[in-house]
Subunit: 287 residues, 4 copies
Amino acid sequence: MPDRMPSNPIPPFEDAVYKRSWKNQLRVIIFEADTFWGKFFDIALLVTILLSVFVVMLESVKEIGQSYGWQLKVLEWVFTVLFTLEYIARIVIVKKKWSYVSSFFGIVDLLSILPTYLSIVFTGTQSLVVLRSLRLLRVFRVLKLARYLTEATNLKAAMAASKIKIFVFIGTVFISVVIMGTLMYLIEGGTNGFTSIPRSIYWAIVTLTTVGYGDIAPQTVIGQMMASVIMIMGYGIIAVPTGIVSAEMVRKAPNREISTTSCSHCNRDGHDYDAEFCKYCGKSLDS
Amino acid sequence: MPDRMPSNPIPPFEDAVYKRSWKNQLRVIIFEADTFWGKFFDIALLVTILLSVFVVMLESVKEIGQSYGWQLKVLEWVFTVLFTLEYIARIVIVKKKWSYVSSFFGIVDLLSILPTYLSIVFTGTQSLVVLRSLRLLRVFRVLKLARYLTEATNLKAAMAASKIKIFVFIGTVFISVVIMGTLMYLIEGGTNGFTSIPRSIYWAIVTLTTVGYGDIAPQTVIGQMMASVIMIMGYGIIAVPTGIVSAEMVRKAPNREISTTSCSHCNRDGHDYDAEFCKYCGKSLDS
Amino acid sequence: MPDRMPSNPIPPFEDAVYKRSWKNQLRVIIFEADTFWGKFFDIALLVTILLSVFVVMLESVKEIGQSYGWQLKVLEWVFTVLFTLEYIARIVIVKKKWSYVSSFFGIVDLLSILPTYLSIVFTGTQSLVVLRSLRLLRVFRVLKLARYLTEATNLKAAMAASKIKIFVFIGTVFISVVIMGTLMYLIEGGTNGFTSIPRSIYWAIVTLTTVGYGDIAPQTVIGQMMASVIMIMGYGIIAVPTGIVSAEMVRKAPNREISTTSCSHCNRDGHDYDAEFCKYCGKSLDS
Amino acid sequence: MPDRMPSNPIPPFEDAVYKRSWKNQLRVIIFEADTFWGKFFDIALLVTILLSVFVVMLESVKEIGQSYGWQLKVLEWVFTVLFTLEYIARIVIVKKKWSYVSSFFGIVDLLSILPTYLSIVFTGTQSLVVLRSLRLLRVFRVLKLARYLTEATNLKAAMAASKIKIFVFIGTVFISVVIMGTLMYLIEGGTNGFTSIPRSIYWAIVTLTTVGYGDIAPQTVIGQMMASVIMIMGYGIIAVPTGIVSAEMVRKAPNREISTTSCSHCNRDGHDYDAEFCKYCGKSLDS
């Protein structure tokens, strides 16, 4: 809830946007989430996105698709027209049009309406409208964006710091599954589902990640011994990404208690417990 | 064992409750676990709950259900009557009746007897009596409650501190499985078990969490490549909740035991437990 | 290699045991691993145990069991007689006989020979000789026992410190799988493998631990939604034991750099980097 | 990009190698990755390795192998001849020939060409050329090798520090699966896929590592109870390697960035990066 709302819960529309031009008013509503109507628009949008994704899902279920086919079709078109209007509105009101269109959300917004129009010409493309669910990422704007962005920046920094570790990890996994898959192809001799090397590599990934579908499984004694080695390796390897993420999170976490004392002179805080003088202005922290 | 029990192991009943009114006496026994009889009651209750849950389980096994049908039925009703009496007793003796009835344990206590009575009218509801197992949470009262509550509070604080991280994590997983499920539905073309989008999303969850039943599994080459990507993603994503919990637990854990002794000479602390002399001024810590 | 071996690699037998009584000599060889012959005996024992376990395994493989039946039988009896002699020797030479017989290794030593003798009377008990593999734990004596014991003590202390956390964790898992299993039994209506509550609970454990055999798998839409919830729960719950163990290991790890300076006065070390005076004797660390 | 390249992107060949003997020139190109042509050679080599591994994979897919059989065969021989020439070149130009031939990469280089030649005499060996993918490890030389080596050294140190923990862990897992596998063999009585002890041990590994193929799964009530115990154990045991790696990585990670600046007045350090005044004596850190 914005601070500038003193008494009435739903402020008059003009009040909320401070008599700006209609373009500016729309911009505040559509692109921001700090005013009442801006928040209202974003939440309504999220609900609409969820509903439209749900409609596409229902349509794919055969029994429902056959019974309520045209009703779902109509709903789907209603949603698409709504999202198209929103997309046009966004382009119209934004100043740097190209920077919106080529931004991540600009592309996602386009991708979320395109499949329905394409489905007139090509069949099968329609299911792609679930790409719409990517639009749900807008939810982060409704929440306290700033805090989320800080988290994301932290995560990005953590990823960057662990870049080599991650690269070495993925490289090792890649080389391991290629070699193991091929060995299993040779051991099982093209039978028991190990019909080709790519398929055997697929099995090695299924096993190493401890997913284990069981559609392909070794039957020979040597194959099962080899598989046991892969499983125990996978059991151990999973510790590596976990360790990397844990270490980064521990490092980021304030595992150092910081004194709540603030300097009586410059009013800044964040001092250590053993600090006797302000580290910003040099005055004594006691006086 | 309470402290106030000097010599005889089973104290006279009146002694244990200190000549209070019968309501008060019952209240101490039923709602508390610090006196001998209070503890006795709680442990007896836990055993009874376990037995009654066990009876319901046995009844659901066809061979046993058919051979010992009426005996189990009788037992089930005996337990229900016992629990009903207990529920009535709790309502009668408690002062703030509504606050008990509407509390978590009040609702669980009601839910644990209701299904049996409902089974006279509706069939099938009877198995719901295993909700009784929720009553086993009372076990924490028999243990040192205080310590457990501290743990729970710590956990709650940790959860609150990681709220955004958890929200972002679940949101990402949700959007990922929706998009991946739909892509697999398109790739596998409604065959090999990927008969609808919801079912494909179910498969994506089964795969991402590394459960991997194998009742639905991709058969096309592109499908298996896509599945490989999901598996390795899932393998990496599992590191995130683990990292969050680890980091919180590391943060809460006392990093190093430090003596609270401070030097009587220079008044500085932070000494190890095995320190005999002040590490700052060199005077003995004992004097 | 013991320190007291100056020149010849295999010392004369009498030399190694220093002319003690034959009982003492045997005791040093059988119960200790610091002398050459003591180490030799322990390693020979470990190899024999591995071989005997291997023989039992081979015997259970039908094709091998039928082809080499009596040869394996003879080997099995040879091993059993050897282990019996060793067991008797241990009882004879040890001073506190009962404390050995009732110790963990005493019981394991008995259990490793008993099944073969019992197999004369009862059939099927013979496979139990693989309990012999428990004897392999003796390997820790050949390695630097002291260091291993420190590790074990650390682990035990860590477990004790996390006792409540572990208890709460297992309790929560137990109550969760009972309730989820029953709900799935009701949802799937006794079909698709969910034929009884215990079996459904078994399925819930298979799913929550992300093992996922797939022999039992939900087929109804509500069942699959329920299963998805359990999987994501399991995905998150696995973070708890991992977090507990990680936190304990981080806590135990020397995550504090300790100065290598040792006091010039009392020669003790383990001082902090900022220490100016020895914390044991109070003299200056600089002089 | 090397520092010594002032203006033109592709330096004249002779310039890059500074008029050394042709052997030296080749050595710098083939064995090093700091000059332009050295880097170019290594990247071209990596692409060629990837392509040749890809060709072998395609050949194993029946449909492709039958349609494009001889084209793939030709490609395979082209790659093999290229790699053979490279192998010979390496031997010729290197000074300590034997130390290259017997090094890890020397052996891998030989193994990557041998299978094709062997496939003239023996059938089936050809698939072993995917061992070529091990050559991809050369990628680490193209990247900043020094940094990678530091990572690897850290990892090695971490492994060495955790050696006993890892040994105890693998030993415990080994003994556990042997005993559990045998118990399951006895419980399920040689049916439901538990046809021998080695096969039952294989099942125990599949279950403990939470892979869970489902090709072998217990059907008896006691078997399923036993399996539940193994699964929950496996769920807990996975925490151990994760905890070890996490603890090591946390320990290695710089807990908090601390400025190396020391106060010019009192000479004490340990100041934060944003500190402007000494926290001990209050003087400015700049002067």
